[in-house]
């Protein structure tokens, strides 16, 4: 798929801070977040069921995206559609794939640089051995591509990853066969995403030009010859928020049903995913040469750093995030008139009986920590030791309270972050 064709279906809604491919919402997340997210799904559901849920969620999310792409590009034949799907997947930073399938859907997907497998090996391969493959997103994507290419009903193809880079195999290989797969589930579309009117918070005059500059930069970001996006010192993906949401909420619902006593542990893990995201993705964007050329050197100023983080959130498609109140060293209020979590929840499950915007809540806390505890002018290395020193254990020093949540039916989501010690 040529860059112009991708640009033609890619839009950003400035009012809502959301990004779309056609009707499909997407966000940027780095490999640190992606691996942490998937690991948490498997921790909650177990490896077998986790892979099943992740594959089905990816299938449903990519099916919608590919349907829009095929329509926009008027791709009719199986060969056209498979080629287009592979190109788009690589452009999004998920890695180059080779999809081979019979008209009845049986076949295989291979890739030597898949985002999940490669990044898992890079990040964890020297520390631990893995027993299970990691590329459920590619499996779900491949199923969706084949279903649509050969006009098959969804829910009739199964995927088994036979080889995986994370298992120290030379490449990833996913075998597809006919079988009873989870039934397709409805996903969120641009036209079905509820949101409140955008509001203005602090530092808006500073934020808006940065958002536009970042959007311009992100518009040119696409997979390299490996189909990977290596930028800001991380591997980045343009990923489908329907995937993240479907997997998080399925895992949390199941945990609440089967082990309610430890539902709090699940919530904490998904909030921690928000810390991981902000620390690695936002932090590395702030420290990048591209940022410096766009905005200038980083000051050691909590207000400026928080304004910068709001600009990053909006441009990455996280929603319209604003800070209406800020007291340096004491209190930060993060409000979202739109975020990518709540609309999905409401759409699929109805009004929640408890807060559900886990990643947003974790990100709010990370905003406070990064604003107050990092000396940005020293250009720190954002490694595991530094992460642990900021976020691990009692040294955290900040706490969150979700006072409003759009998933619970409130007009906005609002998280108050308070200094504790």
């Amino acid at each position: 798929m040529d860059p112009d064709a991708i640009a033609a279906i890619r839009t950003h809604d400035d009012q809502r801070g959301l990004s779309f491919f056609g009707e499909t919402p997407y966000v940027y997340h780095c490999h640190h977040y992606n691996l942490f997210h998937d690991q948490t799904i498997d921790d909650v559901l177990g490896e077998e069921r986790g892979a099943q849920v992740r594959t089905a969620a990816a299938r449903d999310a990519f099916r919608q995206l590919l349907h829009d792409c095929f329509t926009a590009a008027r791709a009719q034949t199986p060969a056209e559609r498979i080629d287009l799907a592979q190109s788009l997947f690589a452009a999004m930073g998920h890695g180059k794939t080779a999809i081979e399938a019979d008209p009845d859907g049986q076949g295989r997907i291979t890739g030597s640089h898949l985002h999940y497998g490669l990044c898992w090996r890079e990040k964890y391969g020297q520390k631990v051995k893995r027993f299970d493959p990691v590329d459920a997103v590619t499996a779900g994507f491949g199923i969706a591509a084949i279903e649509l290419a050969h006009r098959l009903h969804s829910g009739e193809l199964m995927a088994v990853e036979k080889q995986c880079l994370a298992l120290r195999d030379p490449q990833c290989e996913i075998e597809l066969s006919r079988g009873e797969a989870p039934r397709p589930a409805e996903v969120l579309q641009k036209s079905t995403m509820r949101s409140s009117p955008a509001q203005k918070g602090l530092w808006e005059d500073q934020i808006e030009p940065i958002v536009q500059g970042l959007l311009q930069f992100l518009g040119g970001v696409a997979g390299d010859e490996r189909g990977l996006v290596q930028a800001f010192n991380v591997f980045v993906t343009a990923h489908l928020s329907n995937y993240y949401n479907a997997t998080i909420f399925e895992a949390m619902h199941e945990l609440e049903r089967t082990s309610p006593a430890v539902a709090g542990s699940g919530q904490k893990l998904f909030r921690e995913a928000g810390h991981v995201c902000v620390f690695n993705t936002f932090g590395n964007i702030l420290l990048s040469p591209e940022w410096e050329s766009l905005v200038g050197p980083l000051p050691d100023d909590p207000e400026a750093i928080t304004a910068f983080n709001l600009a990053i959130a909006r441009s990455l498609g996280f929603g319209h995030w604003l800070v209406p109140e800020f007291e340096v060293g004491k209190r930060l209020v993060l409000r979202t008139t739109t975020n990518y979590e709540a609309p999905f929840y409401i759409n699929r499950y109805g009004v929640a009986d408890r807060p559900r915007c886990y990643v947003t809540e974790g990100a709010a806390l990370a905003f406070a920590v990064l604003a107050h505890r990092v000396r940005w002018s020293s250009k720190p290395s954002l490694d595991q030791n530094f992460y642990d020193s900021l976020f691990r254990g009692a040294g955290l020093g900040w706490d969150t309270e979700v006072v409003k949540d759009q998933a619970r039916g409130d007009d906005v989501t609002e998280i108050v972050v308070t200094k504790t010690g």
């Binding site: 921790d43 051995k129 893990l269």
Partner: protein
């Protein structure tokens, strides 16, 4: 062991760069000495040395070649590392300059270990509950250490408060922790 004791034990060994005393079987740092400034994480080094000696001991036992006075010698690019199980409770890891003659290194080691042994406490090893040791093991080696306890919690159905007091858990719960630990760490078995 007081700092001065370890400092005294290494007096006159110019080729020595650092020495680590690791308490077994939990591979925890007991004491360390380093020459000059260093950004080494001494706790990590001590625990890896302990693990290495334990693996080596088990391997040699499997070969029928183990003896209590074994030395593990590692020649890296710029250092010579010698690990020695100095008694059943302690491992001594010594790091020498790479060009130190092996004969001199052994001589220095013999003298240093004699001095250190005199000062080491005569301890009755406390057999801490298996659950506690498993939780500590995961905390130390999990790939995302900040999330390790939460991961065990959702995998086992045990709350973080229960895991913090793992000495009170029943055998069935400890089996669950071990299964979770194996998954998280990618190990077929855990020999604690």
């Amino acid at each position: 062991m007081s700092r001065s004791v370890l400092e005294q034990a290494v007096v006159g060994v110019a080729s020595l760069k650092a020495i680590f005393i690791t308490a077994m079987p939990d591979c925890l740092l007991y004491d360390a000495w380093q020459r000059g400034e260093s950004d080494l994480d001494v706790s990590d080094v001590a625990s890896y040395f302990g693990d290495l000696v334990r693996s080596n001991r088990e391997g040699l036992k499997a070969l029928g070649s183990w003896s209590s006075d074994m030395l593990v010698t590692i020649e890296s690019a710029d250092t010579l590392v010698v690990l020695q199980e100095i008694n059943e409770h302690f491992v001594c890891g010594s790091i020498f300059d790479r060009d130190a003659p092996l004969g001199m290194v052994r001589l220095h080691l013999k003298r240093m270990v004699e001095r250190i042994l005199e000062q080491l406490p005569k301890i009755e090893a406390e057999e801490r509950p298996r659950g506690v040791r498993l939780v500590e093991f995961v905390r130390r080696y999990a790939p995302d250490p900040h999330a390790a306890i939460l991961r065990i919690s959702v995998r086992t159905g045990l709350t973080t408060e229960q895991l913090d007091a793992a000495e009170n858990l029943q055998d069935a719960d400890i089996d669950k922790i071990e299964a979770a630990a194996r998954r998280i760490l990618g190990l077929n078995q855990i020999n604690l």
